[in-house]
Symmetry: C2
Subunit: 404 residues, 2 copies
């Protein structure tokens, strides 16, 4: 008799953002007159930049001619894109990463979710708390997280690293030594960053303890301050302990276009086994490459024209971030983030629970945000707003919140 | 200390098609003058049909305007595509499948590889022999296949269903009852099909034994004969035991565009657990949807214009198939397939091994095919040629093989 994967059944309720979307839908159905503003999910709203649109059209035309038609892409991505990424995202920053250490994919979410597969089931995972739910949920589905304790909102076999206001929302080294450490900076959901020195300490810790860091740098384009590392490979020794995951979603507006990549340095080992070959095997066996036209669009991101156009796009969102941050601070909220990241992390007023604040914001201001507690127990009494809305909507949302 | 997934390490050598590609590269490097013709991997060569090109351009233009820009797609696919699929691929054939039972993805290979995740690790898997390697390899990587026996080329915990000439390359019911049964018709690699009555027997067998059938119908568009089922849901009781996987790669030339879908009927259960919800959870947690522009291209496939243009494309490849089949038969080869499928399955001459014949074909005719033994032990002494080449190349390849 066939049986289902019981580890899937351990997951309580649905994916955080599905719940947020459902609550919004229900409210909208009950209040059809409400003009709801959505500052919840990290989804971009600005159209694709002209240089990307041109690249897409050009690639589509190539697909229309026998001579230039492209079938299956190379498993690991086209050389034109891998070379470009190696040059611009790494060599230009002094990081020693070569094109054949870069695996092109259809986005960072998939890579973040699938990467755990190449590790043994017995590996102990450490995550920041609060945290992007994908890291935890995919380890639950793989049977690596133990059992859920509804009271504390934690999994018995996961090591949580609380990121609290006290330490600027940076994680502290855990008491128990983990095998796999998920880090995300600039951080989702808190919008916090760490300095190069702080990140170096994590790299040293991983190397000393035989751990691997999975470094999610999806929000790298939003870094505005000096001394904030753009890549973990800026740190010494990172080639020996770190995997880096990047996205085109937030720097180039590709949430609906789908493109990302993962870096696994050759020589990076887990107890003697090279991880590069394992991930290559996964790509070759379970994946058929990102679409040719999308890889050409990704290439256009790195042209001088592309960089100029996308700098404007990032600036647009960061203007929103500054507006939200300042508006809420003026209204008496305790806020952080929004300087090197498109997320604003605010403390709920009067010790309200995150979900109570969610309901209040939806009802009183018709604004949808994301409850901090959905990202982990240390997110309770916090709330995330994103800067990815349109400017006019963002201004209107803050006006309503201030009048609440 | 971090450790790698040891199940990955059990896989001998690399993915079949990577090995084929490597051998081809090496030969080409040593013989730069050779005009190699590639009839190995099932990759299309005809450009995208005009109606699809138009749909792509239109969708790209939408992405360039704030008002029509689309960010994250719905996890399970856009309603416009799911509705169209339900209408054309199912309702029109009398199959009772609704839009919300269809999960849009970036292709059948990923779905074929990932679907095993929603089942318990202890489930026993049955596959045809020969078989598309993805079914077996992904179960190996999940720890479900036991150990490899290099001598026999089989895995200790996998149930093999030999598909031999004696039964027209159709699998016979296995002696040991499996929990999960992978079936692919029209078949890759043999090009064989089974009748509706034969498929009904499998559905009945699965329902009697509490097994789930994973039905890969990627080559459905190539069916030319009556009484060959296009979908497993044409069989009575299939909603209670079958998952169906479909692709846009072969019917619409999307190998480099990436689009597919999986059907999981609501109510389909594994020992009491609804599988629909589990797959939805996987989509929501590890995937972010197929690109909007690609989903619009998929929709165009189903327009009257699209259907007419793609019928021509399929006919082009099937002309190749008939040419290969007839040419080889005339040259004295024992051949099958090529009537309801774009694959020709030939017996190697004089009892040569599949890889010896591969080498001989590459050296003497500069033609690349796929060794039957790469698909499983019963594929030994067989060889696969695909009809996806250009017509002129196909004619030239057959000329060379006949003169060999």
């Amino acid at each position: 008799m066939v049986r289902a994967n019981e580890d899937y059944l351990k997951l309580p309720g649905s994916y955080l953002f599905s719940t947020v979307a459902r609550k919004q839908r229900e409210y909208a159905a009950a209040h059809p007159e409400a003009k709801i503003i959505r500052l919840s999910i990290g989804d971009v709203t600005q159209p694709l930049a002209p240089v990307i649109v041109e690249a897409l059209h050009r690639a589509v035309d190539e697909m229309a001619q026998t001579e230039t038609f492209r079938g299956y892409a190379p498993d690991l991505g086209y050389a034109f894109l891998r070379n470009t990424v190696a040059e611009h995202d790494y060599k230009a920053r002094g990081c020693e990463i070569s094109a054949d250490e870069i695996f092109i994919s259809d986005g960072a979410k998939g890579d973040c979710g699938n990467i755990q597969e190449i590790f043994a089931k017995e590996c102990k995972v450490a995550v920041c708390d609060p945290v992007y739910p994908v890291y935890v949920d995919t380890n639950v589905m793989a049977g690596r997280a133990g059992n859920y304790d509804a009271q504390s909102g934690t999994w018995s076999e996961v090591i949580y690293m609380p990121c609290t206001a006290e330490y600027g929302f940076a994680p502290q080294l855990p008491k128990e030594v983990p095998d796999i450490i998920y880090l995300c900076f600039p951080n989702n959901p808190t919008g916090a960053t760490i300095t190069k020195e702080q990140l170096q300490a994590w790299v040293d810790y991983a190397n000393q303890n035989g751990a691997v860091i999975i470094y999610d740098a999806a929000y790298e384009a939003y870094i505005s301050e000096e001394d904030v590392p753009h890549s973990i490979y800026e740190c010494e020794g990172a080639r020996e302990c770190a995997i880096e995951i990047r996205s085109f979603s937030k720097n180039a507006g590709f949430t609906g276009v789908r493109l990302g990549y993962t870096v696994i340095p050759k020589g990076l080992k887990a107890d003697g086994t090279e991880l590069h070959g394992l991930w290559a095997r996964r790509h070759g066996t379970k994946y058929n490459g990102a679409p040719y036209i999308v890889q050409r669009a990704g290439e256009a991101v790195y042209t001088a024209e592309g960089q100029a156009q996308l700098k404007e796009q990032v600036a647009y969102y960061m203007k929103n971030a500054a507006y939200i941050r300042q508006g809420l601070a003026e209204a008496g909220y305790t806020v952080s983030g929004g300087v090197n990241a498109p997320y604003i992390w605010l403390q709920t007023p009067e010790g309200m629970s995150s979900w109570d604040f969610f309901d209040r914001l939806l009802e009183k201001a018709n604004v949808v945000g994301t409850p901090g507690s959905g990202f982990g127990p240390s997110g309770e009494h916090y709330f995330r707003l994103t800067a990815f809305g349109r400017y006019e909507d963002t201004v209107e949302a803050i006006r309503r919140i201030r009048e609440m």
